[in-house]
């Protein structure tokens, strides 16, 4: 009797607890929200990775035709063997792998050197016009990365590998082929694009060093040179290292420069090899190469975290925005000034001018005035010129692509901002829990996956219907999805730091006042995160609009963007058209950047470099 009563009581307590817990978790949704977000991220980030591994171990129907004893869809080591062990291994893997290393090491060294010197000049010297230079220094990052590659081709190409003459050859100097195409130009062109990472990281590192640390050294009798060597450099070392590693990680996945400058002389790196394998219908091998690239990038970042992680204390010093120790350049000013101006002239202005000239030249390789024309801008299609391709401004294809690019930039950055806000919110609210850490780390993962590999895994995942999700291949939604996910790391970093600054109490004051979760989000959190949200939009927007490697695999004729269209015409060898498209692309990005920066009063340099 007694025990029966007790059992009943226990049962009642159980139901009471259950209903109370359920009610509470809905009242305080970060927990539920984080689970939903985590599941979505698993599906969109971890899922593709798994699917890619699976795909590289499953026999593709086309290859099944060549193999007698295996059927399509079977588990196979065929691709593994073929890529890493067969007599094709050099062509398929080792040569491109080696070439990748040949490119990224010198490239990243040059990039860090340029970025570091520029950062130091801008932050720590009395160089006239420092602010102007600081703004100009990040333009190579805003421009599509192959701007320089195309300009390089226009200047340095020779007729040895076919096609028309470049500007130099026209002027009577024939550059050797190793200068026109291949590793050297790739290294230079990539370094001039990626130095922006080091520039921003080292720049903010230099800005954050507590001046009192240097002053202490100066007071103790060290001169400026010793202070720089013994105090400033060790403090800035983690930033330098991070800049270097980020450049390498990005370089591994870089596609456009090697594609434009390497493929004409059959200089293949992992990314271009991956692309050609996908195009020739060997996804198994392509995915294996993608996995190698991911491992390469992750291992560099891991090493960086191991080294910098223990010394992190250095970078997190929050110096007061006091007056910095400015190095007086003195007599060296005119010389340094000239060098800096020359540098930016050749990196930013000359390429654009060269590209522009090329669009006005009727017969490529002839730069005499009589050969100038507006055909490639406003000409009607003429069967004798570029197989009837009309001038870009008359081409519906171009207008469609511009519209697509704009749509992609705006939509994906909008979704990015929302995702960043929600992930930032839950990560900060659940701080210290396993879920928070997992969300934080998984949302950063896309950063480590090289763009071209990321595009490839999305192709593998969404090429066929999966569960209730229809096949997305060929749809614009897929482009938006992949761009959003790829840019998530930037957005979540911005979201997390924004929420950290906001602190708990602002929301808790709302809880006490009796405001529900949606009211708190709408009335308290969102308005305060507005500027953060808007400036978080800028970076994904710019990246989306100059993105090629991520999207090139996913593009179908209906969904062409300005970037992919440029690539298509470069592939045809129609440089005049692709240059014109590129100029339009640059123009659109710069205008949009200016508008967003004006509205949000934000600065692109803030969120960059992650």
């Amino acid at each position: 009797m007694q025990t029966a009563k007790k059992q009943k009581e226990n049962k009642n307590l159980f139901f009471k607890r259950f209903s109370n817990i359920t009610r509470r978790s809905f009242r305080n949704p970060p927990f539920i929200l984080s689970i939903i977000l985590f599941v979505i991220l698993l599906y969109l980030i971890i899922g593709p990775l798994v699917s890619m591994v699976q795909s590289s171990l499953t026999l593709h129907p086309r290859d099944a035709l060549f193999l007698d004893d295996e059927n399509a869809g079977d588990f196979t080591t065929y691709y593994l063997v073929r890529t890493f062990l067969s007599n094709m291994k050099n062509v398929l893997f080792y040569k491109p792998f080696l070439n990748t290393l040949i490119v990224i090491f010198p490239m990243s060294a040059i990039a860090v050197l340029i970025g570091g010197i520029l950062a130091w000049l801008v932050v720590r010297t009395d160089l006239p016009g420092r602010r102007f230079f600081a703004r100009i220094a990040i333009t190579p990052y805003i421009l599509p990365s192959w701007t320089l590659a195309l300009a390089w081709i226009n200047i340095f190409k020779n007729r040895t590998i076919g096609g028309s003459a470049g500007i130099l050859e026209y002027l009577g100097i024939t550059p050797p082929t190793w200068m026109s195409f291949g590793p050297l130009p790739i290294i230079i062109v990539m370094a001039l694009h990626y130095y922006t990472f080091s520039f921003l990281l080292i720049g903010s590192g230099l800005r954050e060093i507590d001046t009192r640390l240097e002053e202490s050294a100066l007071v103790l009798g060290a001169d400026q040179k010793i202070t720089i060597r013994k105090i400033v450099f060790p403090l800035i070392a983690p930033a330098v290292l991070s800049g270097w590693v980020l450049t390498i990680a990005r370089g591994v996945g870089s596609f456009s420069a090697p594609a434009f400058l390497g493929r004409p002389v059959n200089f293949q790196v992992l990314s271009t090899k991956l692309f050609s394998n996908l195009q020739t219908g060997s996804p198994g091998i392509a995915y294996l190469l993608a996995l190698v690239m991911i491992l390469l990038a992750i291992s560099f970042i891991y090493v960086n975290q191991k080294i910098v992680g223990t010394r992190k204390g250095f970078v997190t010093i929050t110096g007061k925005a006091a007056t910095k120790n400015i190095v007086k350049l003195g007599k060296a000013t005119p010389l340094i000034m000239t060098l800096v101006i020359l540098f930016f002239t050749f990196v930013v202005f000359v390429p654009i001018i060269v590209l522009a000239i090329e669009t006005f030249v009727k017969v490529p390789g002839d730069y005499s005035l009589s050969n100038f024309t507006l055909q490639y801008w406003i000409g009607k299609g003429d069967p004798h010129i570029l197989s009837g391709t009309p001038g870009v401004l008359r081409s519906p294809e171009m207008w469609q692509a511009t519209w697509n690019s704009l749509k992609l930039g705006l939509l994906s950055s909008f979704f990015c901002a929302i995702a960043g806000l929600l992930i930032g919110y839950t990560v900060v609210r659940l701080r210290g829990t396993f879920l928070s850490k997992s969300l934080d780390q998984v949302s950063f993962l896309p950063y480590l996956i090289p763009s071209i590999a990321f595009g490839a895994i999305y192709l593998s995942l969404f090429a066929k219907p999966r569960g209730f999700i229809p096949s997305l291949y060929g749809t614009f939604a897929l482009l938006i999805l992949v761009t959003t996910v790829k840019n998530l790391p930037f957005a979540t970093r911005a979201g997390i730091s924004g929420m950290m600054q906001l602190g708990h109490e602002i929301e808790e004051a709302g809880i006490i006042a009796g405001a529900g979760w949606f009211t708190r989000m709408r009335r308290l959190i969102m308005p305060l995160q507005k500027s953060n949200l808007l400036s978080g939009i800028l970076l994904p927007m710019v990246s989306a609009m100059r993105e090629l490697s991520l999207l090139i695999i996913l593009i179908t004729p209906g969904t062409h963007l300005l970037t992919t269209l440029t690539f298509k015409y470069t592939d045809y060898g129609y440089y005049s058209i692709s240059n014109a498209l590129l100029l339009i692309n640059i123009f659109v990005v710069l205008i949009l950047c200016a508008i967003v920066q004006k509205i949000t009063k934000s600065d692109l340099s803030k969120g960059l470099g992650g």
Binding site: L13, K16, R17, N20, I21, R24, R27, G503, E505, I506, E508, A509, G510, I511, I512, A513, G514, A515, T519, R523, L524, P527, L528
Partner: protein, 370 residues
């Protein structure tokens, strides 16, 4: 307005125990101060009452209303608990005007906009901020922000007002002014206030009751003066009072037939009290104002030398020593002694607190045997 009752409340984060088996009744209308060093669990306790933190174990009642029970996994949402909370940082919403800040809580409890307006005006007038209603928090001084925070939490007329170190961001002068006002508001409204502070002067001058906490445990709960006069253990004795209470560690013994405390070659003859036995290790504690400096009496052994003298304006604090034993004395006569001057000491009747060294608990009060 109801009493607030905490029943065996424990809060831990994994291994770390913030609040340990804490039981307390906060009577209706009291001004209850939680006092303790940082990390003692006082803010956590306050947040558990507010509902922002959930106890690991225990129950919390407001009147006869259960607001938290770990057993039933029940937790009433903070908005329904009818409390106001003032944060150390004020947590004013920077994107809302003062008016909007104060009105928000009323809006949430569905008060009509007309009544809201009236109520905001009324409370703003009470707090002396009625001319600031259109401003944004960033346009206010620290003291003004403080008043807005107070007005915001008072506006919905909560049955209990919780404050988490609300004055610690103000400068010294403003802090004193605001204390006066808080005390006035309390005596006018008879609102139950739970007030967290690490400043013992604040706790003693504001509270009708003071709860001293250390390492998540309740040390003593008493009226302010009682707390000061009879600290129930060494921690409370040491934590409450500036300058700090004087302490001498020693052993109870009998010397030439006289009961007393032997400490470092000195012997304090004491009136014998219950519970203090020969050979017991004890700490003698005495407040600086309970000591008097006298002329040297060669017949007595308790002779000291002046170490230094610190005039603070209203008081003169003099430090005296004999070998390794130091005393701080609040002098009554306005004399500044030269260092090394020889003086005698006298202790006010029944002012010597004796604590057991092991349990650190108060054994009793006694006087010097003359």
């Amino acid at each position: 307005m109801p009493d607030i009752v905490l029943e065996n409340v424990t809060k831990s984060w994994g291994e770390v125990i913030a609040v340990k088996n804490f039981s307390l009744k906060i009577p209706d209308g009291s001004f209850m101060c939680f006092l303790g060093p940082s990390g003692c669990g006082k803010t956590t306790t306050l947040r558990m009452i507010a509902g922002l933190e959930e106890p690991t174990k225990g129950k919390i009642y407001m009147g006869d209303k259960l607001v938290y029970s770990s057993e039933e996994a029940f937790s009433m949402s903070p908005g329904d608990r009818d409390v106001g909370l003032i944060f150390q940082s004020y947590a004013l919403w920077p994107h809302m005007t003062v008016f909007q800040n104060i009105a928000f809580g009323l809006e949430m409890s569905k008060v009509s906009s007309q009544d809201t307006k009236k109520r905001v005006q009324e409370i703003a007038k009470l707090m002396g901020i009625d001319d600031l209603l259109k401003r944004y928090p960033s346009e206010l001084s620290g003291g003004q922000q403080q008043r807005v925070a107070l007005a915001r939490s008072l506006a919905p007329q909560p049955s209990c007002l919780l404050m988490d170190e609300p004055l610690s961001n103000l400068d010294a002068k403003l802090r004193v002014d605001m204390r006066t006002e808080l005390k006035r508001i309390h005596s006018k409204t008879k609102q139950t206030i739970v007030y967290v502070t690490h400043d013992q002067i604040e706790a003693l001058s504001l509270g009708t009751q003071v709860v001293v906490m250390n390492k998540g445990e309740l040390q003593q709960i008493d009226e302010p003066m009682e707390l000061y006069k009879n600290p129930s253990n060494l921690f409370v004795a040491e934590f409450v009072g500036t300058p700090r209470i004087n302490m001498v560690k020693g052993e109870i013994c009998e010397k030439d037939g006289q009961f007393g405390l032997a400490a470092d070659e000195l012997f304090f003859p004491l009136v014998k009290i219950d519970g203090v036995n020969i050979n017991q290790e004890v700490t003698l504690a005495v407040r600086p104002e309970d000591i008097k400096i006298t002329r040297v009496d060669k017949k007595k052994s308790l002779n000291f030398k002046i170490y230094s003298t610190l005039p603070t304006g209203a008081d003169i604090f003099t430090r005296v020593y004999n070998k390794k034993i130091f005393f701080t004395v609040r002098q009554e006569e306005r004399v500044i002694h030269d260092p090394e001057t020889e003086v005698g000491l006298d202790f006010i009747e029944n002012s010597l607190l004796i604590y057991d060294c092991k349990t650190e608990r108060l054994l009793g009060k006694t006087s010097l045997k003359k």
